[in-house]
Amino acid sequence: MKPLTREITFALNGRPRSVEIPVTLSALDLLRDVLGLTGTKYACGEGECGACTILVDERSLCSCLLFAVDLDGRAVTTIEGIATDDTCAPLIQAFVAAGAVQCGFCTPGLVLQARHFLADNPAADRTAIKRAIEGNLCRCTGYQKIIDAVASHVAALNVPEGRQDARPRR
């Protein structure tokens, strides 16, 4: 029997996209295997490592735990969408400058998670940064350089303390 499919339409990195998919497909498999966007990484496949982090309506989610059909009508951001974006390029540069990228497998997920977190907390301290990336595993760097990278980006942003909540809470 042919598996049940659905056509979904969503904004992928700012551009409308329609695709017919099996209703049981994960968002991670949609991105990597159907759409060929391999910047989003598959590692544990069970929510433990954050390598598959994407933004859906500006919330960071593990795409391996998300049914792709649920993306219908939503706005999805992957690493491909922000790699060249003006506001995100300095964050990525901060990762490179701090030596926070070794094998690089965890990097796309970490960049998206950091971006999501900094949108609400642009003046975050190291403790807050550490908590924000709890769901992202890195087997290479030992995390210090990742925290250094995000902290140096925060320092460069130079947002006054009082203006921490730049974006309204959902």
Partner: protein, 294 residues
């Protein structure tokens, strides 16, 4: 290599926009509900759970996404996420024990997707929102379509869990909200979760302690344990050992002995039964000393 059982596929997929429509979609009792999906995707993809005939995605039902306080009752919609609990001013002010539990839940990415209703309906004995909700005397609201009308009923949370992944909810029902009475003045609540690391860990044991705290005495005591029985449980004998008594060394010592005797854990990959019992004893003692010094 061990192969996983194959995943089946549902025959239909529906995205109701209201509780009414959802109840309709469920009325033949042949539906699987999808909220955040953090439990459902893995369970179905790993073949430990089969889809029923219709996959019903309830995540677009706006009326299930609000937290409100009217009169002396809180109402937390089934689709409220763990992140939303954590950031809710109402919750942080009046129900801090829930915010504490939300703060110990998984990781940011999972908290952003995971819903309160999903945590309740997944009915894992280690579900982190369950002991604090038991300690807050929560009830759940269930809705279904009967005789062409939407009907709702309330079930006290301590009657909702029947076994691991089994609840008192019928196959044609959905959980619409959890309701919590406004805690009285001087209400005290603490949640403790033991895991092997701070983030992304399923509880080895968890404890929720609540009650009105005055002059080192707790009244209306509620103690609930996670991961020491097939379901999250109220520890009623421990509650009785504490009720109205001054939290001195003797009372605490009796209460923690009672707690250890009352917990009936099993051994599994996360910990042995012996270790869990000892941790109930030790962590309960820590929580009670904290309350005595508060």
């Amino acid at each position: 290599m061990a192969t996983l059982p194959a995943m089946n596929a549902p025959a239909a997929y529906l995205v109701p926009a209201s509780v009414d429509e959802a109840a309709d979609a469920l009325s033949d009792g042949e539906a699987t509900l999808l909220a955040g999906g953090t439990d459902l995707l893995l369970q179905t993809h790993q073949g430990v759970r089969a889809f029923r005939r219709t996959l019903v995605n309830i995540s677009r039902i706006a009326e299930l996404k609000t937290i409100s306080l009217s009169g002396d009752r809180f109402r937390i919609g089934a689709l409220v996420t763990i992140t939303e609990l954590l950031h809710s001013k109402l919750v942080c002010q009046h129900l801090p024990i829930l915010a504490q539990a939300a703060d110990h839940f998984a990781s940011d990415q999972i908290r952003n997707a995971a819903t309160v209703g999903g945590n309740l309906c997944n009915a894992s004995p280690a579900g982190d929102m369950l002991p604090p909700l038991l300690a807050l005397d929560a009830t759940v609201e269930l809705a279904c379509r009967k005789d062409h009308r939407l009907q709702r009923r309330n079930v006290p949370l301590d009657q909702f869990f029947l076994g691991p992944r089994r609840t008192a909810m019928a196959a044609d029902e959905l959980l619409t909200a959890v309701e919590i009475p406004l805690p009285p003045a001087r209400h005290y609540g603490r949640f403790f979760k033991l895991g092997t690391r701070p983030a992304l860990d399923i509880s080895i044991i968890s404890i929720a302690l609540a009650g009105v705290l005055e002059n080192r005495q707790l009244t209306g005591v509620r103690v609930a344990f996670g991961a020491v029985a097939p379901i999250p449980v109220r520890a009623r004998r421990t509650e009785a050992a504490l009720e109205g008594r001054t939290l001195d060394a003797e009372v605490i010592s009796t209460a923690v002995e009672t707690a250890r005797a009352e917990a009936t854990p099993i051994s599994d990959i996360r910990a042995s039964a012996w270790y869990r019992s000892e941790m109930i004893f030790n962590m309960m003692r820590r929580l009670l000393h904290e309350a005595a010094d508060a």
